[in-house]
């Protein structure tokens, strides 16, 4: 149990009651502030340093083999609190040499940046590590339509990120090395 302690307030001295010394101290503080370094950033010319774990504009990424990682599982669409994500799933036709074993990919992938709240749930939920909130923070446009990032734009923003898994390559290897049936 916290004990309540009543502190006795000392009566103010005469000089304190005139407030003048306090005013002088205040003036000293503001005056010394004038010679400190500015904290303001001159935005368009100067850009802030973006920390590593910054949550910027959500983007779609490709793996180092330049294959899209998204398989349109729509979990991000499901988890998105403001319902900013809209995916049209599509099937990957068989026999594409660079997309062997890939069955499903988004036909269209739209993120409405007017709705997005940058919560990062989509990145967290993605089972394929295909969506990342990267360092881009300045998103602007002249119309509502412009603010909807489509698949092309999302891949352009996302670029290529290192991959830990190479899921499709592993599967191809397994098939080649005798696990195929």
């Amino acid at each position: 149990m916290a004990k309540t302690v009543v502190l006795e307030r000392k009566p103010l001295s005469l000089s304190e009651r005139t407030y003048l010394p306090q005013i002088a101290t205040g003036l000293k503080t503001t005056f010394s502030n004038m010679f400190k370094k500015n904290v303001t950033l001159q935005y368009p010319e100067e850009r802030p340093v973006i920390p590593q774990n910054y949550r910027g504009v959500p983007t779609l990424v490709k793996d180092p083999n330049n294959r899209e990682k998204c398989v349109s599982c729509q979990l991000c669409e499901f988890v998105c609190p403001p319902k900013a994500i809209r995916i049209t799933p599509g099937e990957v036709p068989e026999g594409e040499a660079d997309r062997e074993h890939v069955e499903k990919a988004p036909k269209e992938f739209e993120i409405n940046m007017l709705r997005c709240i940058y919560c990062g749930y989509c990145q967290e939920v993605c089972p394929e590590e295909a969506i990342f909130l990267q360092q881009e923070y300045s998103s602007s446009g002249y119309s509502r339509e412009e603010m909807i990032n489509n698949k092309e734009k999302l891949y352009e923003l996302g670029g290529v990120v290192p991959d830990k898994h190479y899921k499709w390559d592993k599967k191809k290897k397994a098939e080649q090395e005798g696990n195929s049936h």
């Binding site: 099937e91 394929e128 397994a174 049936h181």
Partner: protein
């Protein structure tokens, strides 16, 4: 459904609690009756028991008896001693017997389940992100409920073909198959079209069609519903939408008078698939493939989307005024529809009675497959009888209408969703006869009609259908109709109010049902809308027992035996 009502009950001890279960059922069902889940893959209550998945392993035992005296052997504390079967048994192939002891939650049982799950997942590709079954997958559910939670399997997994075409509507993903054989048994037992089987052994085992055959019977998509995992997928629904986005509505298949119970799934007003809903009185858990494609009519090209006067688009109000002007004071002929709901047919009949119109109705007949696609290809022909719209059994034509038109007994027509040309009405007789057409799809009659009023498909409204066994079944609205289209009930009640001076009928289910219940001698007496909404209600069909119904003997349906005079 297995209910406790039928036949004798036997006492068993389920997890130490004495309960009573119907005689002769197996332990999976018996436990389910008392709220205990015994996980299973290969067992399906409406198929034969195969017992190959081993997921439903449980511990079973009986009280021990002295072999010579037959007396119960007692424990030290005086209770009967239980002789537990040393190895676990599968619940699906073990029928209950009096005094049987069952453990569904013992450590041994849980260990069994964990082991089985681990084996099933050894070669499972874990491609849940792209699997259509994800979200309604038994493997996912039981892996979270009974699995060990992590994998000890470090070797490479098998790679198998991922998109084998089994038939025109079914695609097989071999990697996901857990070899439960439900689909094989279904094809043998329900459509009696034995095309599926396993080939090869061990981890090479693969589901395949018999050489030269393919899974193309009209019930093939039921295998997709049956499949506890995502191995069998519907080619139509494949990769279209994840199931957790879908909103389900209980509906009735409008394809034929079998009246299959269905679940219509939609997202944001867009229909994605139709799946059967279990009803052991009507359709078990099946429905024909052809009925699953009917949702496409909602967005089809020939859908009528606005009211027309002489083929010019107009508002519903304008069309309604024009329709009333055309019909008022004429000798109206009303062509009803066996596709309308019971409520709508009743309202049409009210119009007919108030305006002294002549009623015509056409039946749509085709071949009967003896299962769930009956010869009567309309959902509600019996509704026309129940609502009193017709007393006679409809023919597959409207020759009588053609004659009446020829004799000028009818000089205005109200047509509900019917194609007069196809019904052999002489086109010459239609000249100069104003037609008011209410329907969803354009046809020659709507093209000829003076006034066209669009209406809603059975996915966009709710109502009641009476199936071939005289079960009244309620279907619910799955998606909103296109903007500006009124439900048929509203259209009909406005017509009725416009054509007669009587007090208005409120166009909602409740008030129409109240009116239907109040008709003298109606078989609906004493049946309320609430009853029908709850479950299928069997109506008294004795009134119509001498009508020449076309349906043949089929699943859960016996044709009425005609009494030879």
């Amino acid at each position: 459904m297995i209910s406790k009502k039928n036949s004798k009950v036997v006492p068993i001890v389920l997890d130490g609690k004495e309960v009573e279960v119907p005689e002769g059922i197996n332990l999976v069902d018996a436990a389910a009756l008392h709220g205990k889940e015994i996980p299973h893959y290969c067992y399906h209550p409406q198929l034969s028991v195969a017992g190959n998945c081993r997921m439903c392993l449980i511990e079973m035992g009986t009280p021990m008896r002295n072999r010579e005296t037959g007396e119960a052997i007692l424990d030290d504390d005086g209770s009967p001693k239980i002789g537990w079967v040393p190895k676990p048994v599968i619940g699906c192939a073990t029928n209950v017997s009096p005094g049987m002891h069952v453990k569904t939650e013992s450590e041994k049982v849980l260990g069994c389940r964990e082991g089985i799950m681990e084996f099933l997942l050894v070669n499972h590709p874990l491609d849940c992100p792209i699997c259509d079954q994800a979200g309604e997958c038994r493997l996912q559910e039981f892996a979270t409920d009974y699995g060990r939670g992590y994998s000890r399997f470090v070797e490479r997994k098998n790679v198998k073909p991922k998109r084998t075409r089994l038939g025109p509507r079914v695609t097989l993903d071999d990697e996901r198959c857990i070899l439960c054989s439900r689909c094989i048994r279904f094809c043998q037992e329900v459509p009696k079209d034995d095309v599926l089987g396993f080939v090869d052994r061990g981890s090479f085992s693969t589901l395949t069609c018999f050489p030269g055959r393919e899974l193309d019977n009209n019930y093939s998509l039921n295998t997709v519903d049956l499949c506890p995992v995502g191995a069998l997928t519907s080619s139509d629904f494949r990769f279209k939408m994840r199931v957790w986005f879908l909103k389900d509505a209980d509906s009735i298949c409008p394809e034929s008078s079998a009246g299959c119970n269905t679940t219509v799934s939609s997202r944001e007003g867009e229909l994605y698939r139709i799946t059967p809903r279990r009803n052991d009185l009507v359709n078990d858990s099946w429905m024909p493939d052809s009925g699953r494609e009917l949702y496409k009519s909602v967005k089809s090209d020939d859908r009528i989307l606005s009211s027309h006067i002489e083929q010019n688009p107009c508002t519903t109000d304008e069309a309604m005024v024009e329709a009333i002007r055309l019909l008022k004071g004429k000798n109206i002929g009303i062509v009803g529809s066996c596709k309308s709901s019971l409520e709508e047919q009743f309202l049409v009949n009210q119009i007919s009675k108030k305006t002294k119109a002549k009623n015509y109705i056409r039946g749509h007949f085709a071949e009967d497959d003896g299962i769930l696609l009956s010869a009567d290809r309309t959902p509600n022909l019996r509704g026309a009888l129940v609502s009193g719209f017709t007393q006679k059994y409809p023919k597959d034509n409207l020759l009588s209408l053609s004659q009446s038109l020829g004799k000028k007994q009818v000089d205005a027509l109200l047509v509900i969703d019917e194609d007069l040309d196809a019904a052999q009405v002489d086109a010459a007789n239609l000249d100069g006869v104003p037609i008011v057409f209410i329907g969803t799809q354009a046809n020659t009659t709507s093209n000829r009609a003076s006034v066209v009023l669009p209406s809603l498909t059975s996915f966009e409204k709710s109502g009641t259908f009476v199936n071939r066994s005289f079960y009244a079944q309620f279907f619910r609205q799955a998606v909103p109709g296109p903007a500006g289209i009124l439900p048929d009930l509203s259209l009909l009640s406005r017509l009725l109010n416009g054509l007669t001076e009587d007090e208005e009928i409120i166009p909602d289910q409740n008030s129409v049902w109240k009116l239907m219940n109040s008709v003298r001698g109606s078989v609906l007496k004493g049946i309320s809308l609430t009853d029908v909404k709850k479950e299928a209600v069997l109506l008294d069909s004795s009134k119509w027992s001498d009508l020449p119904f076309v349906e043949a003997k089929a699943l859960h349906f016996e044709p009425i035996q005609k009494v030879e005079a």
